[in-house]
Amino acid sequence: MAVQDAVPGIAKPADGLLKVEKLGKAYAAARPVFADVSFSLDRGEFVCIIGHSGCGKTTILNVLAGLDTASAGNVFMDGREVLGPSLDRGVVFQSHALMPWLTVRQNIAFAVKSRWPDWSAGEITLHVEKFVALVGLSHAIDKKPSQLSGGMKQRVGIARAFSIQPKMLLLDEPFGALDALTRGTIQDELMGIVRETQQTVFMITHDVDEAILLSDRILLMTNGAETASGYKPGGITEVVVNPLPRQRTRATLHHLEGYYELRNHIVDFLVSRAKVH
């Protein structure tokens, strides 16, 4: 199992799609929530970030999405600084964020129209139906969100994000509100779509098995805390590279060699090391 320690302050010297350099966020000047967060994402990579509540994972994602600003540091995508939201960075929110007065079809068409405003109605319909089929909801395409289950709504959110074909997809604990059974099914679907589309993905999750199933790399984040030598802000202590073969399935995941080592390492981190940077 390969483990890279991310040295605070030095970004990985790769010509990645996304480069995050020394990101920090502070609500009170002397006690930043996190500081010196640096990592990068290559095209086609699936990266998960794991950590306890309050460490700042959602804030990092919001900064990447352009919905929030950092107190320190920079984010670069394709060489250009990220200053606000963009169609290049699609987001799947934790609560599906579907517009309840629109049907599934209209919700996704709204996104497609935002991306390609010059398309004709026929082109839009074709594109929408393709992505609805991708998440297996063709039978519910003309229903309103209130008529769908939680899992279905989240699938629509995923279809909407994929339909604009962004350079990078940001997922904020997309399956946190779902039951375990539905979660498993959607994880499989997401993995299939990502492999097929070669989508670059950055995902926040609490679920260790989910991270091991889906990601190529896992970022482990600690919370800010008081230590003997004063307040230490949170940050990324470790970057774990997933050694398991890329073609894996949820059903046989736990049989793969190296699985338990990886899992134990992450759980150990969450249980004992996550509190202090």
Binding site: A65, G66, L67, G84, P85, S86, L87, R89, G90, V91, F93, S95, A97, M99, P100, W101, F110, A111, S114, R115, K144, S146, I164
Partner: protein, 288 residues
């Protein structure tokens, strides 16, 4: 489904019973004593004297609260011929209603045109909201009748004054509700619009407006109720035409049956106006 049907049926029966009890009470309270009873115990000279004083004891009660029978006759008479026009003091009920509804349409329409865009702007700008708040709070509680003198003095035309008073009284609920609805749009949806790089105009039309629509329509419904209240009061004061004027005119003629009939008409039309807006509201309501 069955449960709600039986509930509706039972409610209808109770409504009918309440109506019958009320009509029964009316009948009992207005049954006049007989002619003979009125003149009983009076000598011929006393009866002649009473007649000279204008209190003819033998005649049918022309004043006093109308009986059910008289009421029914009036209702039938009005419904039979609602569109007649015999001059400025004698027009059919439907024509008077038409004048009132026209004024309401103009005043309410004008109020919509002002309140909804202004409410939109106020809802989106916390600065404007706080700046305009004291003005709104002071102007909101002013009664329509208090506006009338100012309106008549400056506008001079009584009909236009009536429309202005409707406008100035029905604009506030729509303004306040629109501002509230717009400011309370869920952040999630605004974030979605932001990540999709939606232009401000498209965001206003396709995200904020549909999201705030139920609240805006609630404001419109309240405003419509107020507008209808106001027009009746304004017309009573100003006169000329309209259902409010009809009430006041018939009151001056001491024709209580006509007054009661007009009051009923006002109530029914108010209910119908509210029903129309209620339907509109249902159309824009969504389940989150």
């Amino acid at each position: 489904m069955n449960e709600s049907r039986t509930l509706n049926f039972r409610a209808a029966i109770v409504s009918v019973v309440i109506l019958l009890v009320f009509l029964g009470g009316w009948y009992a309270a207005t049954s006049a004593p007989g002619k003979a009873g009125a003149t009983a115990g009076m000598t011929a000279e006393q009866i002649e004297y009473a007649r000279m004083m204008g209190k003819d004891p033998g005649a049918e009660k022309a004043t006093g609260f109308p009986t059910l029978g008289q009421m029914g006759k009036t209702v039938w008479h009005h419904l039979q011929n609602p569109f007649y026009d015999n001059g400025p003091n004698d027009k059919g009920v439907a024509i008077q209603l038409g004048y009132s509804l026209l004024r309401v349409a103009l005043g309410f329409g004008l109020a919509c045109l002002v309140a909804i865009p202004l409410g939109f702007v106020v809802g989106m700008s916390p600065l404007l909201r706080r700046a305009l708040d004291p003005f709104i709070q002071v102007l909101k509680p002013i009664s329509p009748l208090a506006w009338m003198p100012l309106a008549l003095y400056t506008i001079k035309d009584s009909s236009v004054s009536g429309i202005f008073v409707i406008f100035i009284c029905s604009v506030w609920p729509m303004l306040v509700n629109t501002a509230f609805g717009v400011s309370a749009v869920k952040k999630d949806w605004l974030n979605v619009a932001a990540t999709l790089e939606v232009s401000p105009l498209r965001k206003a039309w396709q995200v904020i407006l549909p999201a705030a629509a139920p609240t805006i329509l609630t404001g419109m419904r309240i405003s419509m109720g107020i507008a209808w209240l106001v027009i009746v009061a304004a017309e009573m004061l100003v006169g000329g035409t309209g259902i409010g004027y009809f009430v006041w005119n018939e009151w001056n003629n001491l024709s209580l049956t006509n007054v009661i009939f007009a009051v009923l008409v006002i109530g029914v039309v108010g209910m119908l106006l509210d029903m129309v807006l209620g339907q509109l509201q249902k159309m824009v309501t969504y389940v989150d």
